[in-house]
Subunit: 501 residues, 2 copies
């Protein structure tokens, strides 16, 4: 059995290496590639994914997993090898259920749809992309149909990135969250708007980048095992557990853009960098789910990075970097500026409180489309209606509305949005557990020390990679199941104080 | 047959894409990769090459080539498809002759040997690496033995990179060249040494890089289809015909290091960038041989880049970049400094005239070892003896002698050195042909115009990629077979004038 297990690991490492190579080709495409490389690069990335898919769906891998079934059952369920076989089987079974012909036609379709979306958004004309989106909806249902036995048609799409999650569970969770957020937003936005002009001055790119790197180095991002580059959209990518990179973009007239995206992506990166080296090259060497991944980026970006103790330490340092812009701005004014809550139209620019309303309405619209309750042609109206009811504001154009996010135009409808709000919920729950275990965390943060928090996250979350599912992890780490209470407590306390509600 | 040909192209493109991905992983390793990425990166590159090898040696590819044999014979020999099938068959047949087990053990061996060489060179102790080099010699013979029917045991190793070349042909060519170079070097070094202190001042890195990029942009390197980055050793690499990159390294106390390596690598890059787009993704989309490749780097670096007309145009511009260093240095002094000939020990630092003697002696020593006339234990003595007889100078240490070049310690003994001198010979022959076709080339160069020369090289050499062998190309382009005369004419004329011989 030892030999079979080695053979399994060897095959999985090959698959891992093909994906890692494709990831490097994509990273290069977004950072350094000259324009002339675009055409061949697309083909090369597709070739690598195609070969990885062939290797993952190889019959011999299936037989190996069958052979290892009794061995797996003989192992303690908590053992690394049992987890490896379980995760590998899950990936194999998912992959073999989807016909290669479907993958080919769907990836052609999304490539075309993406290009049409770019043009439709620029022309502010949803009708251009509508037929493509209708086809995407059909393909999304077809993809779900390869996984019969689900309760809700969105479940297989959600389960793919957030294993164990279902539409039903999320609807309950998100419904309750929305019920509490709408009045909170209402209460806040009845107050005098915060003046955030202090972060909207001119901040030279080079200084912004240097300050951001200083911050994340201090949080614990290890530049010997990673780097930061610039790209049109910020992202985190991993080539191995020793090489995890992030990118950012800088707006010289907005100090918050690069800084918080840097902390956000560093949060993702520290999760990957904290995974136990013993999992290198295997499917266990990944964050366990999209939601848990997002919990780490948001914990560092928002709960830590937008907190009073964080800026107690960093604000004087930031003032030194930008003396002419911030020398006369006091810490409280700055703190209020970076935590300004407002009714706005664009999800990615939204504050901590309203952000989840942007996500939940997309999630609800996805479910309605997949269930057949909402036709794509009625989507723009439904979008406006939900913005009106949830955020009290309506987009004047579809570019600012239903066409703002790339997600539906570059992948399935269903499965892509829930992780953002799940991540917020989990960040509150994990952070509360970290504070219970280490009551002095915030005093340390105020001194610029992040080691205790980082170490707690490594020990409890990062090191395990994909060994435990999100549900198992939450139970192990917090002693309870997924709950919105700690996150709502955090938000309510922070913003009640800030806005004197 | 059309369907079979398409199937062949599809398979070849997959192989091409795997190699291109591996090339990007290597480029990244030398330029931006954080140190923590090293371990997995080595494995990932190996995985990609391994998969490419499996695809190249796939029986189905062999059957496809068999099926296409009669089709190939029905085509005009000059057609692209016939060339594609011929080159693909050559690569397939070479690959299937070498057992996978040999490749595995040899690549393990060279990885170890390389690491031992780094230590042995630092310790200046050849005895540390000697047993590994002895094993390399055995492996080199074993590799040759997979290609029975050769006249000289080095032939298969030479033919791998310089198709059609043999030890016998090269010995005749190099022997004659050496006979003429030794007295030329003798005559030059009897003169007063040239004072080159003007290029040994402090030249800030940023200005050096900017000037080098200005130069190659003007030569015709297209930055929309390539870029330059820094790396420990300069190299050219290609990911597609639309993305060809070069690297350089800068010494702030030596103006010639970055500048001429930039022009050299740009010469390699312009060759690849000039290949016809119709060959993209196939094995025809490569330079035809190592020797022809080197002819293009050396033509641009030496014949153009170290010429009087070139500096007639660029020297005033260089003076403007470095006014305090070169403002008072006249063009003639600078021209003599960058063309200084001297007896020296290190091949990569050698001038145009002595360079070939460094190469030819390595080539002769390789043949002697492969033939069994020279034992590895006697190599350091033989090395010193040849430096004494050919260059009139003897290395005091083996680090400066037999251990100076990485080649034998990272690959086979045999096949790696001939291309450098072949490249020089060919650069002279090609340039003479270009001048015959366009007698005003040098007047144009003196005006900073390189379009005529670049266009001639594209039309006659670059566009064809690997369609013609080096021998065929030389015959087509120059109307004669390989000859040292144009190169010797060039050297003799240039240096007779320069040193008033």
């Amino acid at each position: 059995m030892e030999a079979r297990l080695q053979e399994l690991k060897k095959r999985l490492t090959e698959i891992n290496d093909l994906h890692a190579a494709a990831a490097l080709l994509s990273w290069d495409q977004s950072t350094y590639m000259p324009e002339g490389g675009a055409e061949a690069r697309g083909r090369q990335i597709a070739t690598l994914h195609q070969l990885a898919h062939e290797k993952l769906t190889d019959d011999r891998l299936g037989r190996l997993l069958d052979d290892l079934k009794s061995y797996e059952q003989s192992l303690p369920p908590d053992s690394d090898d049992a987890a490896l076989i379980r995760v590998a089987r899950r990936e194999y079974e998912r992959a073999v259920k989807v016909p290669a012909s479907f993958i080919a036609k769907f990836s052609n379709h999304t490539a075309t749809t993406y290009n049409v979306w770019v043009k439709a958004k620029a022309a502010d004309d949803f009708s251009l992309v509508r037929p493509y989106l209708e086809q995407t909806l059909e393909y999304s249902r077809e993809l779900a149909s390869f996984f019969p036995g689900y309760e809700h048609i969105a479940d297989p799409l959600i389960d793919y990135v957030d294993e164990g999650m279902t539409a039903k569970k999320l609807q309950a969770l998100f419904g309750e969250l929305r019920k509490r957020l709408v009045p909170l937003v209402q209460a806040i936005t009845e107050q005098e708007p915060v003046n955030d002009t202090c972060v909207r001055q001119h901040f030279p790119e080079r200084d912004q980048l240097a300050f951001g790197e200083l911050v994340i180095r201090q949080l614990g991002f290890d530049f010997r095992r990673g780097r930061q580059d610039k790209s049109p959209h910020p992202f985190m990518t991993k080539f191995s557990l020793g090489d995890v990179r992030i990118t950012t973009r800088v707006k010289e007239n907005d100090l918050t853009e690069a800084l918080f995206s840097t902390i956000h992506e560093a949060g993702h990166a520290m999760y990957e960098l904290g995974i136990s080296k013993k999992y290198e090259g295997t499917p266990l060497a990944n964050g366990t789910s999209s939601g848990v991944h997002e919990s780490q980026s948001r914990l560092w970006e928002n709960i830590v990075g937008r907190s009073r103790p964080f800026w107690r330490h960093f604000y004087p340092r930031l003032q030194k970097v930008f003396p002419s812009q911030l020398g006369d701005v006091d810490e409280e004014t700055f703190y209020r500026a970076i935590n300004k809550v407002e009714r706005s139209l664009i999800r990615t620019d939204a504050d901590e409180v309203t952000y989840n309303l942007h996500v939940i309405l997309r999630f609800d619209l996805e479910l309605a489309m997949l269930e057949g309750r909402l036709a794509v042609r009625n989507l723009p109206d439904a979008w406006r209606e939900r913005y009106r009811s949830d955020l009290g504001i309506v987009p004047a154009t579809d570019s600012m509305g239903v066409m703002q996010d790339v997600h539906w135009y570059a992948d399935t409808i269903g499965g892509a949005f829930q992780c953002y709000t799940l991540g917020n919920i989990l960040s509150g729950q994990f952070y509360a557990a970290a504070k219970r275990a280490n009551p002095h965390i915030e005093e340390e943060i105020a001194r610029g020390e992040f080691g205790t928090l980082h170490q707690w996250l490594k020990e409890n979350i990062y090191q395990h990679g994909k060994k435990y599912t999100a549900d198992e992890l939450v139970q192990r780490v917090t002693g309870e199941s997924l709950s919105i209470e700690p996150y709502m407590d955090y938000l309510t306390k922070k913003y009640t104080e800030l806005y004197e509600l």
